[in-house]
Amino acid sequence: MTTLRKIFLRREAGIAVMIVLFCLAVGAVKPQFLTLDQLRIILLLTPLIMIGAMGQMLVIVARHVDLSIGSMLGVSAMVSGMLYRYDATWFGVDLPWWSGIPISIVVGALLGLGNGLLITLFRLPAIIVTLGTLSLYRGLTFIISNAKQIDRQWIPSELKGLAQTSPIMGIPWIIFIAFGVALLTYFFAMHTRVGRQIFALGSNPVAAPLRGIKVNQVTLLVFAISGALSGLAGILYASRWGFVNPSNTGSGFEFQVIAAVVIGGASINGGVGTVLGTVLGVLLLGCVSAALPLLGIPGTSQAAIYGAVILIALVIDRSVRQQGIASLKRARA
């Protein structure tokens, strides 16, 4: 099999082709869609979803699902926002502007760890636990903020600057951060022992412990990573939009992220998923969101498109899996 054929047979090739076809189709109707400015808009739409999608991909690969990421994003953004608002000082040292980044990540990781503990300690299904914590963490956001929004003037301008520009060709830092997270996830998932164990666990949860995989620890880690990345997305939300609102920040985030991950080819039956596919899935969603206003389709239709995209991706995933099973049978016969 030639290298070219191998590339085309990969799942990611299909998504890449879909992105190209979609962009060409929109570009044929509205030529301004194929400009660099538009590329910038698309890339600016995607970083938060990409960061969230990396965590969610690992969760889905481990045969779980995390519905609470939007609320974890909200809580961790709010914790940092409150610190900025009250100009906290630690042991007499003023907090530097970037302190919100590690704080949000830690807060997110702790919340994610909470999910993981409930799931592993009591052997509960992730979907119900995270449905509960979706509501619980959202409530926490209101409680710690006293239901008040963190306004623009409280967020340090250096932090907001991350979403505007950088010394490198004026491409905003958050885009580099998002792709950096994707690269790290790639390395973690493909080239570390624990990363491979996540895939083994998702492929066959029964066999994994027999293989010496510490299932509980891996599960905890996966949910903690998902939380930590939601936390990072949270502080970048503050950077990108310049405010943190207790009810809006992060609500509906989970659906965008799950849509991106399942289009990216991660299988809901666990064990299958690639970073490249997820990145392409995120970009496809970004293209669709950027094309809507150009085509004069109201923004209200976005949620419906996400929903339809999830269902279509599920059906595609099923047909791919069945082809795989059929070819296995043929190989055995």
Partner: protein, 331 residues
Amino acid sequence: MSTIKTAAPAQADISPVRPRWQTLLIRPETMTFMLLVVGVFAGSLLSPFFLDLSYILRSFTLYSELAIVALVLTMVIIAGEIDLSPAANMALSACIFAWAQASGVPIPLAIVIGLLSGLAMGALNAFLVIGLQLPSIIVTIGTLTLFRGLAQVLAGDKSIRVPEWFIGVDKIMLAGVPLPVVLFIVLAIGLGIVLGGTIFGRNIYQIGTNEVAARHAGIRSARIKSTLFLLVGLVASVAGIMTASRLGSVRYDIALGGELQMVLMAMLGGTYIFGGRGTILGTFLAAWLLVIVSTGMIVANVLPAVQLVVLGGLLIVAIIATNLIYSRTQR
């Protein structure tokens, strides 16, 4: 496998039958019932309104739509599936109904259109879950997003008004009980009989306990599960139209987040999340419990945010408790 070799299970077989009061005590509904009694007692300390039946009935009407759907959802969970989309289904069928009547369709026909759309949404779920063998968890997350999104497309950010005479299903009283509550009670009795006393109902338990075995025993699991998904869709659209009548106008965010409360009612009532166990009586009691708790928090001036925390926490505590109870009875 290893338990077969040990002698303990054999002894368990010949051990005397548990006395009736003990089997009653370890039923999860008993826990729900006791919590309900405690809830009413605590509520009455908080405010004398809680001893006023008409006040509780009036508060219940606010939750009756979700409670009605939760009854059917219980059956879906017992059959080993889950449906997170009915709250979005309520919004979409209410929007379709309101949009139809606003564009000149007579109300009875608009209601039929709303109900049919609910049925179609149930059919979509059934097709994806049973026809294509996709996991219901992710499918219904997808349809949840889709239905809510379509409702948003249809209604936009505006609210669609319904005619004056159509408003107020919750004000109609039958023997002093609001109509939605009557409907809930009647449906609970009906579904309770179906689930507990008919072959169809017993088959649902068998599917949820072990679907492969059930299929080998000749139970048409695909047909039964499809029926359940269709039923959820239909009942959700009834609930959606009732909400429209109660609120007097329809927005796309009707029952937003209602899936949490529906699942919570089923879980509090002792329905086992992995299927095979649970009763309508449990969900029936849990619905009242949830209303008492929610109303109690409102009376006690608890912040809405804290209520979110309580509901989310309650869901987690409820599944942990149910799982513990069942794992004890397994011993």
